[in-house]
């Protein structure tokens, strides 16, 4: 009887230690691999929400802008949406100054957006064009590529100023 109990206990212990060892081994194996993968492929791109820094790609004078409200969308703004933003960095002589609250249209987003033909498009960075309340751009030039989605959102002025439509 005693021997049986001891035997059972040992086997339990053995299995426990095996499991621990197994778990430890797997974590050791997985950690370096995950680390390598996460740099390149596991970066999850999400919406443009409060506190998101965006690049300004027109000549309105601002350089960087921080989103304070996404006008449409519970989770945040996407490609082609309008946002309210606060100017964080501006060029010395420009139409907008630092600390101003402005409206902006997102023209480039790192998060992919689905198109009606089923494909998806994404850009390299998050960029915005500063716009007035009516939707007309304040600046006179737009830099970099802009997506087709602006046409549907009726931001035709930005499209005409763009140098490349993706």
């Amino acid at each position: 009887m005693l021997t049986v109990v001891v035997g059972a206990g040992r086997s339990l212990l053995g299995s426990l230690s095996n499991n621990l060892l197994g778990a430890v081994k797997t974590t050791h194996e997985v950690i370096p691999r995950l680390h390598y993968n996460s740099i390149f492929s596991q970066q999850q791109r999400t919406f443009i929400q409060m506190r998101t820094n965006l690049k300004v790609v027109d000549n309105s004078g601002a350089k960087r802008v921080m989103c304070i409200q996404a006008l449409k969308g519970r989770r945040g703004a996407r490609l082609g949406d309008t946002i309210i933003a606060s100017v964080k960095e501006a060029q010395p002589r420009g139409k907008v100054k630092k600390g101003e609250v402005v409206y902006g249209v997102v023209v480039r987003a790192a998060m992919q957006r689905g198109r009606c033909d089923g494909s998806e498009i994404k850009f390299d960075d998050n960029a915005v064009v500063i716009v007035n309340k009516q939707g007309e751009p304040i600046g006179t030039r737009v830099f970099g590529p802009v997506p087709h989605e602006l046409r549907k959102k009726k931001h035709l002025k930005i499209l005409t100023l763009a140098e490349h439509i993706a």
Binding site: S41, R108, D117, G118, E120, I121, F123, D124
Partner: protein, 166 residues
């Protein structure tokens, strides 16, 4: 609707598949599936990966220059719709496809031409040198051509008795 080519593996991207990535210099990269996309993000060179068309063309595994590729070249001017032209184009596509497949098969056959002779030679050499690895005494006895020249070894009586006991 336009059938694009994947930037990485050069396969066709049908509508509804894949992701387009637009870089800030307005260069568009189209990928047919996430495998190609992830490899691109890892900054791998398609010319070094054996499964891509770029590698195969570079290393002469697939046809590079052929007149059948002229049809697939990208034309940026839209053609005015003409029923006769459309009909003849459709017929031509089928015919050119058949010709291209035939030429690719011929290219492959040319590439594999000397293979059988090399295989035969290797097999003959292996037969000469390594027949001792294949111990089939019955076969060795039957066909003297399969064996190395026989050498007579004297077996003492005591050895055979030991074997019997075991």
């Amino acid at each position: 609707m336009r059938l694009e080519k994947c930037w990485f593996c050069s396969s066709t991207i049908y509508p509804g598949h894949g992701i387009q990535f637009v870089r800030n210099d307005a260069k568009i990269f189209r990928f047919c599936r996430s495998k190609c996309h992830k490899n691109f993000k890892m900054k791998r060179n398609p010319r070094k990966l054996k499964w891509t068309k770029a590698y195969r063309r570079l290393h002469g595994k697939d046809m590079t220059q052929d007149s059948t590729f002229e049809l697939e070249r990208k034309r940026n001017r839209p053609e005015r719709y003409d029923r006769n032209v459309t009909e003849s184009t459709l017929k031509a596509i089928k015919k050119i496809d058949k010709i291209r497949v035939a030429r690719e098969a011929r290219h492959h056959a040319m590439r594999m031409k000397g293979k059988k002779a090399i295989e035969q030679q290797a097999a003959a050499k292996e037969l000469e040198q390594s027949i001792h690895l294949v111990k089939a005494p019955a076969a060795l006895q039957e066909d003297p051509s399969l064996t190395l020249p026989k050498m007579k070894i004297k077996v003492s009586q005591s050895q055979t008795e030991d074997r019997m006991e075991e």
